[in-house]
Symmetry: C2
Subunit: 323 residues, 2 copies
């Protein structure tokens, strides 16, 4: 019997989730702390460790019994050194997460980008199971992804890979959060959808989205789009459709380049709207891929929701513990 | 001493090149036959075998001394079965090249797409040497490519990968040879460049390209663009620049997804125009890539010219002979 346990940690802009997970990928316990109001690096690290200790306590695990720690962070990561270079939504600067966590938890620690980690989670225990190559595409505030080839996360030369949101889709298109133009994310993400709605509001276009959110752009979450769609709202239908079409173009590019066995679509937008969006994405793939290119390639929704992060982080931990 | 030799064959729409190559990648002899006027499958196979026999004769090698045969074909290939599904420029239908060549030459044979094979050639003996991951982009009549990850050609689920020419770059853009819209190839290939010039001719725009080619679109080869460029021709300068910009967008997408160590640009257009185009491509990459994403990634011209095909095919042969 393998009794080793691992700590999987999912660091986000509002909360940090920790879980004690065994080698089979079963979640034994969880811990959660807020990160929204941390003021500096020390407070943030304190919250991460507190969430881990809560999970360890719940599972009755002593810190010394943890074989490895993995953590996904919302920003670019130097995986070699275990350093998060920056986190747009947690502005505490560059963070040596590996050394901090190894010191506090006494086990080897691996750090990676949250979307890579989510992809690894879906690959190990979710919608990617049974494949040896898959791409994870996560559509939320932004759009990101990860690439698995031959059963391994592709890391590339710089460690920054699977940046699906920054595929150039329309060189003269709308401005992206990254400051450049026409990235896929500027055309297909919650931010892109919100912008379209705000513009329509400015133009005085009638839409149920206005009543549902009181006209507050910050309340244009995926759930509001879902409700408006169910009410047959014209603007919401258009905006969701166009987002899906652009994600479809992204999928076509992924298939032409990589020919993965499966593309898994996750993230908040997909959790609320996959049933509307996936058929549109599949339609674009059928229409735009070269003959034979899309044959047998599956396009499926993610399965794990929020658990993808802690499970993928545990997969990282298992990898580093076995080195 | 390793005295094994391999046959590398590069099948094209106008000619077929064969070479006897040793395990170090030295070309010992060559054979060449025309394929432009073959009328059916048997004639084509006859020309391929004749070119191989010429190379074998020149090197003084008996067919029985060949350890393996590799061939690159200009069309989609089922690499598992060694079958070329179709060749737009050699319309003889589906072709069981592996079984034909194994019977005729008495050695195991591997078949792959010509651009994958060219990428493998550059990786083994050309501009990709010393890397473990690279992308080859070949710009000619069309634009294609191949992807090497962890020292191996990426084959994917369907065997069709690295179709860089069919990245969706502008969904509402010009029609592509594949019948779809806005593929990179429709904006960046010799065909795309020709179309731009023809349109300018139709509009009566003055250009040295007209004098250089007698106004015959078929004569708008890369060399004509080179000459017109050297003469300071405005249209040629614009067309070459725009082609390079679009290739730059393609490179940005490749880097954001794959983070390869090196991108190697080859093919007829690049052989004539790399000195103009590569700096423009590098400029787009610097401007459009996320911070840190392009760091240390090299963009270089191919080194092997026509030899990439036979050398890559020999690399395939070595692979299959060692199985």
């Amino acid at each position: 019997m393998n009794s080793k346990v691992y700590l999987g940690i999912d660091l986000g802009g509002t909360k940090v989730l920790s879980a004690v997970i065994n080698a089979k990928g079963q979640i034994l316990s969880r811990g959660k702390k807020r990160t929204a109001k941390v003021e500096d690096r020390d407070q943030l690290v304190g919250q991460i460790i507190a969430s881990a200790q809560k999970a360890l306590h719940e599972a009755g695990t002593a810190p010394g019994d943890v074989a490895g720690v993995g953590i996904g962070a919302p920003g670019p990561v130097d995986t070699e050194r275990g350093v998060v270079l920056e986190m747009p939504n947690i502005p505490v600067g560059c963070l040596h997460l590996r050394s901090e966590l190894e010191t506090a938890l006494g086990a080897p620690c691996a750090v990676d980008n949250d979307v890579n980690v989510g992809t690894l989670g879906e690959f190990w225990r979710g919608a990617g199971q049974g494949t040896s190559s898959m791409v994870g595409v996560f559509v939320g505030t932004g759009t990101g992804g990860g690439i698995i080839i031959d059963g391994k996360l592709l890391r590339g030369k710089t460690g920054i890979t699977g940046e699906i949101g920054h595929i150039v889709l329309d060189p003269d298109g709308p401005e992206c959060g990254c400051g450049r133009r026409g990235c896929l994310e500027a055309l297909a993400s919650r931010t892109a959808m919100r912008r379209r709605v705000e513009r329509a509001w400015d133009e005085g276009q009638g839409t149920a989205l206005k009543e549902l959110t009181g006209g507050v752009p910050g309340k244009l979450r995926s759930g509001a789009f879902r409700k408006a769609l169910d009410m047959g709202d014209k603007l919401a239908t258009q905006v969701v459709r166009d987002c899906a079409i652009n994600l479809g173009y992204g999928a076509v590019t992924l298939i032409h380049l990589l020919s993965p066995e499966r593309i898994v679509f996750g993230g908040g937008v997909m959790e609320a709207l996959a049933d509307e969006m996936l058929p549109i994405i599949e339609g674009i793939v059928a229409e735009r891929c070269l003959d034979g290119c899309a044959e047998g390639i599956e396009i499926v929704p993610a399965k794990l929701g929020d658990d993808a992060g802690v499970l993928g982080a545990a997969a990282l931990a298992i990898e580093i513990a076995s080195e």
